[in-house]
């Protein structure tokens, strides 16, 4: 204990003398998480979920987590720590008592200065006395003491899209699905209220471009309304969710709503260790639960249960079976802009019940999970071979057993799930901090083709937890101070037919990255990413070709450097090739400048990007700084340039954001297709956001 105090004292003195870990003034997401979001968008998750992970992180930016009271679940929600690091942190805190400072983090086994730097904006070291069972004050005092926030975001694409062109009434009547019913404005409003960690409440209202506001099908206002009331650390229960909420159980084999980390440069963060009930704050209009959820602990046991009932969008068929509606797919886009989309809006009732009983000890966690769901109609998929083993019918259920165990430097985890009467799914893994500089992860999954988890979100290469087997390897080496090597290799096979592949197939993908941080704010990395999967042939003359390998390769160099204490520069060059024989290839280069100063309420980001790719297959994704809680990860393809300006101004408790972006193509005269088509070589957007804290 004495030696620890000495070390901490020396460390603090060093920090005072050499402010290498000084507080970040820019309060922005760590680069690693921007990467994760960038790569998540590539894997066709809803951008709303990326917004959700950001909201979680921004929540911690605004209300940092007290390290001396943080639970493993809360630490896991930062998405920056591996399970081993979380356990190592908890063990350190249990052994040595509360931390004196965030600067103490590098002393913990499995932590280093870079990680402490990433965590620093989201955490602080406060009192270690638990504040559970604090009484909620009366409504008046609560409203007075709670942090309240109102946010309004609006904007539009500046060029006219075909769906908004005015047409003669006769044409509009004859072809009602050829024009959007609403305006091109996007309007998003959110009102939230937070009282410490005990109460979170909020209302979210959203209108997508093309949807009506107080008109036609939205007579009550917005197209999407969401409400949540979330109470926790109460004497009667651990958590109570009323309204809209997320449920995450185990490793996600039976249910995992919201964002889940997929393959990215955070090569060790594939383990899900924050099974819980959370308020829903995203704007995805279908993938959430609406009803009531409860969590309650009894000594080492914890019981969680929920009921959800809501109507969802679905593609209705023209037939009825036994007087019930028949639908062929569930829709997730959330767009209700034309009569055809409105016809499918919230037409099927969905009821879901689920529960989890878990046993929690410091080194072992075991949970038993169950989920049952029933639709108001009959789910009948198109009779195609790839749908042969997918869910059809009215109701279904899943049960699973999950575990997490710490054994020395190793962390074992997994979930074994079953669809009664059908298939099984297994996910098991081992994560290890082999030395203070080497960490690795091995993850094996085996999902049978007739396992049917309609709400699952477990680790997978394909779009669902079904019909897949594979092994994932992740490795991180801290080669020297500031120099880190990261890599993963994932191999998989689909024993049954899959999307764009009319035969059983297999593939593999990997990433190698060398990351160098010689000093704070000066970072660079070189990344190679490759992937080969099997797809069907695409020769229009000879018809369907046999399944063939389809490789993709990416090479990226990124440099981030300080120009002045307030101005930061980012440069990136990326090359991509795609298809057999590098059929499509392309490159992109950009220059970013960011201005942030603790003395100035004004902040700005600007980018100029130049790109040149053969076609859409060689598209390149790049994260853009955007309005708070919003994300933009555009796909750069064809030939052209893109520039944007994102500004923020703070005035007392009011923050303003403005973002303007423009993409100009050298070789295109139209952009997009269908009703979204723009007749011209450029596409611009302008968005404005205001946030009021009161």
């Amino acid at each position: 204990m004495l030696s620890r105090n000495l070390i901490v004292t020396c460390l603090l003195l060093q920090v005072l003398c050499i402010p290498c870990l000084q507080a970040q003034t820019d309060r922005e997401l760590p680069r690693a998480l921007k990467d994760v979001i960038e790569q998540a968008s590539r894997q066709s998750q809803s951008p709303c979920f990326e917004g959700q992970i950001a909201q979680e992180l921004f929540h911690y930016l605004q209300y940092p987590l007290n390290l001396n009271q943080a639970t493993p679940e809360q630490l896991g929600r930062l998405h920056l720590l591996t399970p081993f690091q979380i356990n190592s942190f908890i063990a350190y805190r249990n052994q040595y008592g509360p931390l004196y400072s965030v600067y103490e983090l590098p002393l913990i086994y499995g932590f280093n200065e870079q990680l402490a730097r990433k965590l620093e904006p989201f955490v602080y070291t406060g009192s270690h006395r638990p504040q559970n069972n604090r009484q909620l004050p009366g409504p008046g005092q609560l409203l007075d003491q709670a942090r309240k926030q109102l946010m309004l975001r609006t904007g539009r694409i500046l060029e006219q899209q075909d769906g908004y062109r005015s047409r003669p009434d006769s044409v509009a009547e004859a072809h009602p699905n050829r024009c959007f019913l609403g305006s091109p404005m996007r309007v998003y409003t959110k009102l939230s209220l937070n009282y410490y960690d005990q109460l979170r409440a909020g209302v979210t209202l959203d209108k997508d471009p093309g949807e009506t506001l107080f008109g036609h099908d939205n007579a009550h206002g917005f197209d999407f309304h969401s409400f949540h009331l979330f109470l926790q650390n109460n004497r009667w229960f651990d958590k109570l969710a009323i309204g809209d909420f997320d449920v995450r159980y185990g490793q996600g084999l039976i249910t995992w709503s919201g964002f889940s980390l997929s393959k990215s440069s955070m090569v060790l963060n594939q383990v899900k260790n924050q099974a819980c009930l959370d308020p829903y704050t995203s704007s995805n209009e279908n993938k959430f639960f609406r009803g009531i959820g409860l969590e309650k602990s009894f000594s080492s046991w914890k019981l969680s249960c929920f009921y959800s009932g809501k109507k969802v969008d679905a593609n209705l068929a023209d037939t009825l079976i036994n007087g019930r509606k028949v639908f062929t797919s569930l829709l997730e886009s959330g767009y209700h802009r034309i009569p055809r989309e409105i016809e499918n809006e919230r037409v099927i009732r969905e009821r879901i019940m689920g529960g989890r009983l878990s046993y929690n000890r410091s080194r072992l966690k075991v949970g038993f999970n169950g989920l049952w769901y029933r639709f108001g109609g009959i789910y009948r998929r198109a009779p195609r071979p790839e749908n042969a083993f997918r869910f059809s019918g009215r109701s279904n259920s899943n049960i699973s057993l999950d575990y997490q165990a710490v054994m020395g430097p190793f962390y074992l985890f997994g979930e074994e799930a079953l669809t009664p009467g059908r298939g099984m799914a297994f996910l098991n893994g081992l994560s290890g901090q082999l030395t203070d500089r080497v960490a690795m992860l091995i993850l094996h999954r085996w999902y049978e083709r007739d396992y049917q988890g309609l709400y699952s979100g477990g680790f997978s290469e394909g779009p669902r937890v079904q019909n897949e087997r594979g092994i994932y390897w992740g490795l991180q080496l801290d080669l020297s101070a500031g120099l880190t090597f990261k890599g993963y290799l994932d191999t998989w096979c689909f024993p049954w037919l899959s999307y764009r592949c009319p035969a059983p197939s297999r593939g593999r993908g990997g990433l190698l990255e060398l990351h160098y941080t010689p000093r704070k704010n000066l970072q660079m990395y070189l990344r190679y990413q490759g992937e080969t999967r099997m797809v069907d042939g695409q020769d229009p003359l000879s018809g369907p070709a046999p399944v063939q390998p389809y490789p993709k390769t990416k090479l990226r160099y990124h440099l981030r450097y300080p120009i002045t204490p307030a101005i930061t520069g980012d440069n990136r060059i990326e090359w991509v090739s795609s298809g057999p024989g590098r059929k499509s290839s392309g490159w992109m280069i950009y220059q970013d400048l960011g201005y942030r100063s603790s003395n100035n309420p004004f902040g700005a980001d600007i980018r100029c990007a130049l790109f040149h790719t053969d076609d859409y297959h060689a598209r390149i994704y790049a994260y853009e700084d955007d309005l708070l809680y919003a994300f933009s990860i555009p796909a750069y393809y064809a030939k052209g340039y893109r520039t944007y300006l994102n500004m923020k101004y703070s005035w007392n408790e009011v923050d303003f954001w403005l973002k303007w972006a423009r993409t100009h193509y050298f070789n295109k005269q139209t952009i997009g297709s269908g009703l979204n088509q723009i007749r011209g070589p450029h596409k611009s957007s302008l968005y404005f956001q205001i946030r009021v804290n009161f």
């Binding site: 500089r437 080497v438 092994i471 390897w473 080496l477 290799l489 297999r506």
Partner: protein, 269 residues
């Protein structure tokens, strides 16, 4: 018909690590648990994966390994011995692969020794006898292989190995025995952990990158894992090493063919 099918499978399965079964190294469960990233390993089984390692053997050793194939007809056994003498170490091995319709015997004699305090080298002469039933008959061939090991420092070991540099051919149709070059490095990050990386290359074939980890769970027990590409092999294994005994088990998993268990025992006198 069954024989024809087995023959095709044998040739194909033999072609996974190399183009013919003649180049049947590296062997030993420790090597397989590390996805065959073993050109820099120093243990008894360097009699098959890099004869340079013989230079560091100090005691007589005898060992046996069994490798279960994807089907029983592709099992592989090796019996070996190493005897320090003549300022170095002499090693010998006998191996048997196949079944009644496709059998391959290999006899090898090797010699390795120090070339400098940090460098050791070795050479091995191989005799192959292959018998295939039916019209194919049998064939004998002799070739050789050589390896070098460099202990750069306490943390880094480098290895290089060359098989069949004379480009010996095979069978009545003069099929070439492969020329195989292997280069690798072993890095001790700390006492319990060793990272091994290796690249194997045959002329005209795509390179095979391999990577393995060996973690000393205790003084005697080792956990191992590794992965190699082209084709993809996922490997896992455990080891129990004492002053006299080296016992290893491994399981190599091929995404199409399935699993392949290995067992090795070696005793040092």
């Amino acid at each position: 018909m069954r024989c024809a099918g087995l023959f095709i499978l044998l040739v194909w399965a033999g072609g996974l690590p190399c183009s013919t079964r003649g180049a049947d190294y590296p062997v030993g469960a420790r090597s397989w648990a590390l996805a065959r990233a073993s050109v820099m390993l120093v243990d008894f089984w360097c009699i098959t994966h890099n004869q340079g390692g013989l230079g560091w053997l100090e005691r007589p050793v005898v060992g046996f390994t069994h490798q279960s194939g994807y089907i029983p007809e592709t099992d592989h056994q090796i019996l070996g011995v190493a005897l320090p003498c003549f300022a170095g170490c002499i090693g010998g091995s006998l191996s048997l692969y196949g079944y009644e319709h496709y059998q391959q015997y290999k006899a090898a004699i090797a010699y390795g020794r120090y070339l400098s305090p940090k460098l050791a080298g070795g050479i091995q002469i191989d005799y192959y006898h292959t018998r295939i039933s039916g019209v194919y008959g049998q064939d004998h061939r002799v070739t050789f292989e050589a390896g070098l090991l460099l202990r750069a420092n306490d943390q880094l070991v480098l290895g290089a190995h060359l098989f069949n540099p004379v480009s010996q051919t095979w069978g009545r149709y003069q099929e070439p025995l492969p020329v195989i070059i292997r280069l690798g490095a072993g890095i001790h990050f700390s006492r319990p952990l060793q990272l091994l990386v290796e690249v194997e290359k045959q002329p005209g074939q795509v390179a095979i990158p391999k990577m393995g980890f060996e973690y000393a769970f205790s003084r005697f027990f080792f956990l191992r894992t590794g992965v190699s590409l082209n084709p993809t092999l996922h490997c896992f294994g455990i080891g129990y090493h004492t002053r006299h005994l080296q016992a290893d088990m491994a399981y190599a998993f091929h995404p199409v063919l399935g699993g392949m268990p290995h067992l090795s025992m070696a005793y040092a006198f």
